[in-house]
């Protein structure tokens, strides 16, 4: 088994203007997702949603502090899940399942040191 981080990149503007119904659907989709992960031979180890990039502060070179995300992009990192999966096929099945209606996800293997 190996760990993969599923990074969720979405258009924040869409969330800023979303109706309460849409936000409710998104919440429900994430709950459904969590319930389905194990059907793909994987296990959910953790995950979080992040506050918007408007709340981000970047620190470069250990001292230079700037207001905003490290890189400005239309689709910004908005949350992540940490999953355990036997291989990339299984991790990608989970990635396809992961809700990201205003963008997509990136699946990255977690580095191990042994």
């Amino acid at each position: 088994m190996a760990q993969y981080l599923i990074l969720i990149y979405e258009d924040e503007a869409q969330y800023a203007t979303a109706t309460p119904e849409v936000l409710g659907e998104v919440m429900q989709a994430h709950n459904d997702f969590a319930a389905q992960v194990e059907q793909h031979g994987a296990k959910l180890l953790g995950g979080n949603a992040l506050q918007s990039t408007g709340t981000a502060t970047s620190v470069r070179g250990g001292s230079e502090v700037t207001d905003g995300p490290f890189v400005e992009t239309k689709e910004a990192l908005g949350g992540y899940y940490l999953v355990e999966a036997p291989d990339l096929d299984s991790a990608l099945a989970v990635g396809k399942l992961c809700p990201a209606r205003f963008g997509g996800v990136e699946v990255r293997p977690v580095m191990t040191f042994d």
Binding site: A2, P86, D87, L88, D89, A91, L92, P109
Partner: protein, 422 residues
Amino acid sequence: MTDASAVAAAVADAHRREWAFVLAATVRVTRDIDVAEECVQDAFATALTDWRRTGIPARPGAWLTTTARRRALNVLRHRGVEHRYLPLLVEEDTVPGPADLADDRPGGAEIPDDRLRLIVTCCHPPLDRSAQVALTLRLMCGLSTAEVARAFLVSEPTMAARITRAKKKIAVARIPYRVPSADELPARVDAVLAVIHLLFTTGHTTPAGEELVRRDLVERSIELGRMLRRLLPRDPAVAGLLALLLLTDARRETRTGPDGRLLLLEEQDRSRWDGRAIAEGAALVRESLRARPPSPYALQAAIAAVHAESPTWDDTDWHEIVALYGVLTQVWPSPVVALNRAVAVGFACGAAAGLAALDALAAEPQLAGYGYLPAARADFLRRLGRVEEARDAYAEALLLTENAVEREFLASRLRTLGTGPP
């Protein structure tokens, strides 16, 4: 002592035929592609000297596999885990250990054929298409990095970096080394077919350069198609792709004249088409069309078969071809397919109808910058006697075409139309 040149020929032949089999079986032992490649190369080098002494074995593939796998076990025993650069490949089956290899004499227990495992791994969709193609040539065909680089007109360091990155991703991201389950298999085979088809088309019409056919890529792609057909004999999409390659390549000798000039289907000497390849391809077409819906490869092969089996250009059943393109646009809605259909309409129903069909595609963004569209328009305009418009269209096509042979064809058409007003 066996004659050195006979041994060299036998080793070269085995390299061509058995490379993928030997490597796939050795990867099962090493679970590390680089180590397996080294061991397989060593086995071929050993064959060059050993076969002079012992004679050429009855089953060179089995001999090479056994030698490569023994070598692999030795390497693994002497190379500690701490020196490992990449993690081991993931596979769910038990890996053969020394006990399994004890009976691994040539002529002993059958060595499982792992080539399907290897090719679906090379063509795994999370790998970029250019990486899939490079890995396939390198691991399935045994081409060197330099040869792969030459085939795709990139520098050797660029290709080496591409192959290294792909191998690293397979190991680190844990792309599994296994035959996909029955429900995943069709999508995975599709990716393999796309790679083989790309190899063929790259060889068949090089995007740029002097030579119209890069023979080796064409032959390699057909060999891969045949291999896949043996591995998956009941897959109609595989049959369709192999049929398409065979039927297209059957016309190889007649595609250019003695002076290197491009010859159109209309001008080609059909008596020089490869009748055996056509018969084999046509039989595969019939089989591949049984799938519902038929694969895009099967339909393209069916179109190629109509041409191949027509005794003369004038006998071509253009209505059948238009109908096949109609089905093809449904299973594969692509502006390029629509363009080919429009050309067929021009032959079935006259140049004016063809031109109207082409002009309906003029606004298609995917066809902007595609040289075949103005080239096809130019031909219909020429047939309709609209010389000035034909000239403009040929000139536009020339601007968009890089292949030297195709450029010469367009330029010669332009010359026959003259330069002055009609």
